[in-house]
Amino acid sequence: MAHLFFFYFAGVIVLTSILVVALRNPIYSALSLLIMFFHVAGLYVTLHAEFLAAVQIIVYAGAILVLYLFVVMLLNLKREERYHAQFPIGALLGLTIVTEVLLLAFHGSSPPEPAPSGTSTPATNGVTEVAGVTDAVAGPALSAVEGNTETIGESLYTTYLFPFEVASLILLVAMIGSIVLAKKDIFEQQ
């Protein structure tokens, strides 16, 4: 049953990703991207990453996609102009990824190398064990009553206060910068 969720979300993600590149109308591509974003958010929820799921929906589905749509409409891409002879590069990349998947499939069951300092290596679990993904996440994380957002909040506003405040400065410079570069026809009011 739990596997069902994973395969539903993963399947829709794969399907809509293919549609994004295969559909001829760029607007439809963007809309399938939207569906993909929602399902990625669903996958994050099954992985107990609620905060990431919220980011996925608010930022990616909400804002980034609007930006994409605006670019598409701004440039007014003609349907046939999007395709160039990129088969060799695509084939090369595809081959690389297929090799990686095969390597993971055959070596994924072996235990990951012990970390040098004795700490856990969060990146290697979960990624290598695709089939057992639900078991891997349903372990200790569930026992914690408080959510992932709360944990993030508590470390973000204490330990990582510095990056947080620098982030506000980055937003400030991004806002001024985008106005300086994109706003048309602002002449100095003399």
Partner: protein, 127 residues
């Protein structure tokens, strides 16, 4: 309890979300379906052609979008990121208390400067 059962238990908390998605989908599908079912249908060539103040349509409906929209989209992204930082802050506000409030005031204070700037420079106006 096994891992899978725990996961299901956890996902059950998301049932309202699922319900909401279902209602949203149903609303769209049902309204379209009803209007399709009850509308009178007498198709004619003239009726089916695009109507443009009586004259023949002479260009594609997909026109380039004014670049002005783009800056709104960009500012929207920036505001959106701001909201993302507010979200965990609101969740843990009870725990972090006054110092958390000060942190967020500094964060928002810098943002207000940018906002007032955008306002005064006319970046939020249409022309």
């Amino acid at each position: 309890m096994s891992g899978s059962e725990l996961l299901l238990d956890y996902l059950a908390r998301y049932f309202p979300v699922l319900l909401f998605i279902g209602v949203a989908l149903a609303f769209g599908v049902v309204t379209l379906a009803i209007s399709y079912l009850v509308q009178p249908k007498y198709p004619e060539t003239e009726k089916l052609s695009p109507y443009e103040c009586g004259s023949e349509p002479f260009s594609d409906a997909r026109m380039p979008f004014p670049v002005r929209y783009y800056i709104f989209a960009m500012l929207f992204v920036i505001f959106d990121i701001e909201v993302i930082f507010l979200y965990p802050w609101a969740v843990v506000f009870d725990n972090i208390g006054l110092i958390g409030l000060v942190e967020m005031l500094v964060f928002i204070g810098l943002f207000v400067v940018a906002y007032v700037y955008a306002w005064r420079k006319g970046a939020l106006e249409w022309d």
